[in-house]
Symmetry: C4
Subunit: 255 residues, 4 copies
């Protein structure tokens, strides 16, 4: 196997599709969002990307059938007047610095192969606390992209995220921009501690406005409710533990 | 030395031999099973595989003679009507992600060189607790392989092992499958905490039924008994320690 | 992208410019010093260096515009009779041993491209305690360089720094020296615990004497004052905490 | 710079010199032994080996002069009838598995360049406790080497060292043996906790008998005495600390 190996499965004619990247990251926001598009919209697997930077691993499906771990490109056809999408999903990022560069270069190669010149990297940005209002932060490679995004509710904050944007999402901008891609990163605010379907929904709501398509959020809302229950139980347990601890007053009488 | 260096020692004519991989892993199940085949059956060293992904190390034999650490291929001739075996054993997996890919590619090259188109990767799957019944889990690269394996007692469980199968065993399926190998992974259930000869025996019992050969399990049973003694002693020590701890009732009167 | 990718932005005619390296390191002394030169003197971006050894990351500017992380070369024109400067700044060193070698080789290639044959690597040397007098230590690739540096107040101590000089600064000497560069490392003493603008100023004061230029230190002194305040607050907090702890005398009566 | 770069300094005519390797390792036994040969015998620097697997570092000499870290080959001329020596010393091993293979291959290339076909890798073998009698263990690449070594007091123990021999010393045997080198590893027993000049002397005493030369051990004995003093002080401090702890009897009356 080559260091990176692209397996083309289908070759549909796509009209300047928009690359949507949703690999694992903070709060799994990008991954949840991209997978939701595949579940809800008309989609077709078009290519698999194998990389020796991914773990040496096969995944097992519900029949016990093993397949080499990979990232997948799906063509997604939306109902509205918007462009076709080329959605990248998978379970892994690269495992080394230079591996991230080679992986992202290969991803952009595939996107160009399908005629794409525009990319949205989806992800989360950690706030460190529970999020009440799901703001979506943006970063772009050229200033003229900002107005349309701001109209769709995206916020741009000076020098944020402070540590830059790392991983494949960052390089979709960094390497994509150098190749002439019109690249945008949409980052949903999220605590950073939990998988966050609500943040994924916030990101998708921006995306559907910009790219003029519509998607049903029912299943994502269901997952959000499940997460709420989990969070609720964690809080209850914490409260109980604190109730069992002696109060400051009680502590005064010990010893 | 090249990154991977194959040293062919013998060139016997083998009729479509079956590759059996048994490198170190969970409970050393695969390694124990493969080494047991070499001890009990008529075998011949046919090739050594050196790799700069292995530790920079020589092994010392019982005469004080040093030899560069390597993985070994043995031709194994069984008594029954079953195929010849090409058994891969060794003390190491690769040390990096991409190293696993290159190592497994080289292993499959050697297997093809001997005419093999079929592979069994042997290993263990951790249960996290002491195992009473030694079930053997299976994973395959194509659905039509399942029936014969299920007849031999192999279980297929949806999406298990949950984290996929990693290391050379995983790639024997993943890369082997992409090359057209008929690849199977047999995983003996094992606690994951101890070397487990019983789990290795369970895997071999499946293998001998599928590949139509017979092997004596006396020495493996002896090792299993030794392990039982070790486990027994650990339990005794744990019991004694607990006996020395004050009971909850006793604790109530302290302080 | 290549493993290392140089993007030339401007091609000014420079007369044997002196390479000044200020990448992150102990007390950020080198980075502070090099960035201060860019802020205070007449400078021009001439080249960017991208490397897959840098983190896979984009940096976000104050407009929310993303750019691939890189190291930058600026031509700096001084007022005095001294030579032009070629100042290297950035946020990262390499992430592996061999990466440092390749990165520094590329840096020296760029410097040669602009006609440079002389280099100053700026950095800090940790003392492990608060520094009162900011001595600047030196290391050179040839003994005849020492006299002029000692005249400018640089100290040379046998076998110091004891562990050698590591990272790009070290290799500017090690690889630069082997190429015929006249390489010097100037290391400002610094505690090693904090960003240290005073140490950076000490290094620059030596540099301006050797290279015959003048730079205003107002802004660096302001940052030094800010750091003093931070240090002061840390000390106060430590003092308060100690005041709240029982004294040895008080402890004697407990229990 | 290439990944490994050999700089030939002198080209003396050596008659089948014996490679002596003494890089850092357990108890620094090999390094101490090799450096002692350079100090005591008539020697000449013949080559430097630079490698991007070494730390990115310059070493500073007693004049403040920096030089790129490297391993060094010295020709050593002994007084007796024994062969010339080619002594390899340095401060580093490689930093990755494959780097060790490439580094050792390069070392053997240089040795062959000087006509060497015989090698002694010097090192220590950890016992985990203070050593009273300094036995020297041996490992060889061919059984016929053993008799002469046993005559010189070298012990061969089945399957020891249990974990094999790792690092450059191991590969001098492993890769050297595959090239036809007559390779021997001499391992002085040592606690493994401290630099051990006595163990280095034990190794050299074997070496001088086998290779028919004589070396004075005065300076090594001085270092051994210094180490004894250090060990003595550590023991005193431990004894004092224990004296300050309450005895079991005293503890019985607490609480």
């Amino acid at each position: 196997m080559d260091s990176i190996d692209i397996e083309y499965v289908e070759s549909p004619e796509l009209a300047e599709p928009v690359l949507i990247e949703g690999l694992p990251g903070v709060g799994h926001v990008g991954k949840l969002a991209a997978e939701h598009l595949l579940e809800e919209l008309d989609s077709e697997l078009v290519a698999r990307l194998y990389a020796d930077e991914f773990p040496p691993q096969v995944d097992i499906d519900d029949e016990g059938i093993a397949s080499l771990t990979c990232a997948s490109f799906h063509a997604v056809y939306t109902d509205g007047d918007g462009p076709d999408l080329l959605v990248l999903t998978g379970d892994h990022q690269a495992s080394t610095n230079d591996g991230h560069y080679r992986l992202t270069d290969a991803i952009l190669d595939v996107a160009e192969e399908f005629g794409s010149q525009r990319a949205f990297a989806l992800g989360g940005v950690p706030t460190g606390e529970l999020v009440e209002e799901y703001t979506v932060l943006g970063a772009v490679t050229a200033a003229e992209q900002k107005a349309a995004l701001e109209d769709a509710g995206v916020e741009f904050r000076p020098d944020e995220p402070a540590g830059g944007i790392v991983g494949v999402s960052g390089l979709i901008l960094g390497l994509g921009g150098r190749r002439g891609f019109d690249s945008v990163c949409l980052m949903g605010e999220t605590s950073g501690y939990l998988v966050d379907p609500k943040s994924a929904q916030a990101v998708l709501e921006v995306l559907q406005e910009i790219l003029d398509f519509e998607v049903d959020f029912g299943s994502l809302e269901d997952r959000a409710e499940e997460m709420e229950e989990v969070v609720g139980k964690i809080r209850e347990m914490q409260d109980q533990q604190q109730a069992q601890l002696p109060t400051d007053d009680e502590l005064r009488y010990i010893g």
